[in-house]
Symmetry: C2
């Protein structure tokens, strides 16, 4: 692939990790960062994630490709005004929700320069210092509403994601948001709620933390995730998340009912049913 001048708006966990991959794979002749936080901008330069940090308009003017890796509420505000300013550039977002965002630019005259993607990778940490080398590798990236993008923009974006080791999926934005509620958003809510359950108890007793095991860590690690990123995701995907959350609470109630009624056979059935998750994760 021909090297491009790439601007990344938001050099945090996602933008920073992307920068590392683009540099490693030789896809960028230059990486320009745009970053609202001065501290993060400084850190991104210090870590060599970006070659320079520029104001938004200069970054847009000086780039061939523009990535957005900012919280999804900021994305909805910013994407239309970025499209106002582009001509031949490719604009790509990396956000966790899609329906509202795509509706916000549906009628934009430059809509076709924009490619909607959601790389399914992240950690519970945030900021440029959280950027991870080799992130995204062997993970899925979802392309949404592909037919609304120009062929050249789509082709470059597909090649780039393949180049950093991702496998590509394609679906409509509505479908994406529903699935994301199931495989990502609900996991965060259960983890936040589990952390709060245990922290509530801690007021009374410290011993439980000395006992915290690997199983506990695994279920609760997402609870460290940043509210600035997660509140907007849950806001934008409210309806789907509520549906899944209701279903999840009703599944938990089945366990509750088994315990209350001492229905151990049904409890065993519920657990055996859950074991079928083995066919999805190994």
């Amino acid at each position: 692939m021909e090297r491009k001048r790439i601007a990344i708006i938001g050099i945090g966990l996602i933008g920073g990790s992307l920068a590392l991959q683009l540099n490693e794979k030789g896809f960028a002749s230059k990486i320009i960062g745009v970053e609202a936080s001065e501290e993060h901008a400084k850190k991104a330069l210090e870590l060599g994630l970006v070659d320079e940090v520029l104001p938004l308009d200069e970054a847009i003017a000086g780039a061939d490709v523009i990535f957005l890796a900012i919280p999804v509420d900021k994305m909805v505000g910013l994407l239309p005004s970025i499209l106002d300013k582009v001509e031949k550039q490719i604009v790509i977002d990396m956000g966790s929700t899609k329906d509202l965002l795509l509706k916000a630019v549906a009628d934009h005259p430059r809509r076709k320069r924009y490619v909607a993607t959601h790389p399914m990778w992240g950690t519970e940490y945030s900021g440029p210092a959280a950027a991870v080398k080799g992130a995204f590798e062997n993970k899925a990236v979802i392309f949404c509403n592909e037919s609304d993008s120009d062929a050249d923009a789509l082709a470059w974006t597909r090649d780039m994601y393949k180049g950093i080791g991702m496998h590509l999926l394609s679906m409509e934005a509505e479908s994406h948001d529903l699935h994301a509620a199931y495989v990502s958003h609900i996991s965060h809510i259960t983890s936040f709620a589990l952390a709060n359950t245990v922290l509530e108890k801690e007021k009374e007793d410290d011993a439980i933390f000395e006992m915290a095991s690997a199983g506990f860590e695994s279920t609760v690690r997402l609870a460290k995730s940043n509210p600035a990123m997660w509140v907007p995701i849950l806001m934008q995907n409210k309806e789907n998340v509520l549906d899944v959350l209701n279903e999840h609470i009703s599944q938990l109630r089945k366990f509750k009912s088994c315990l209350e009624k001492e229905n151990w056979d049904y409890l065993s059935e519920l657990i055996s049913g859950a074991n079928k998750i083995k066919k999805i994760i190994r």
Copy 2:
């Protein structure tokens, strides 16, 4: 430490991993396995976890130390009859619940030969093939009701667990079961319920599994855990688990209410609160 002849009743995930550690640290002159499943017995010999597999009575007679690493319902049935047969041997259980078990042997004439422990380590897999080298290292082990054990039995057991890299905690059985409900048992229930939530959906659509991300895997991996182990744990710890489960459901309802009422400030507060789990897990 002087090498001992060690019998391990139940050569599965826990018993098998213990065998590996005892061999590596040179604590055993011989390891005798006792195993109800012929297939597991064969596998344990094949993997070199044990030197021989013997019937229970022969194993007891030929051992200095006897470990129990079987599901907790089997434990309650078996421990009293093992104590019937011991003289100077040390008997140690490695189960996940303690209150019922300790009550079952409270008045046994050989009670003092028995040491109640719960090493806080496990994985979602089971059987001897799931045994892990270096398991238990840097994890906590809880000793329960220590004053009910003979000093020599306690001393050896403490040295052994320290020797395999664990840090020791001590508490009463009732306290242990309450804490275990918070840091281990509830994590399994949320994970089982999350798996069932998603599997319910899968009937309609396969795409969500191609999207399954690392965050999802992390929260759902415990759902692969074995019902033969987990039903008895939840049975024996029913009251505590129900308390924690009710609390957890009420924490989830707070998230639900935020979404329904679009109370984003409170949602942000709930997430920031959950972030405090950082002080416990890094």
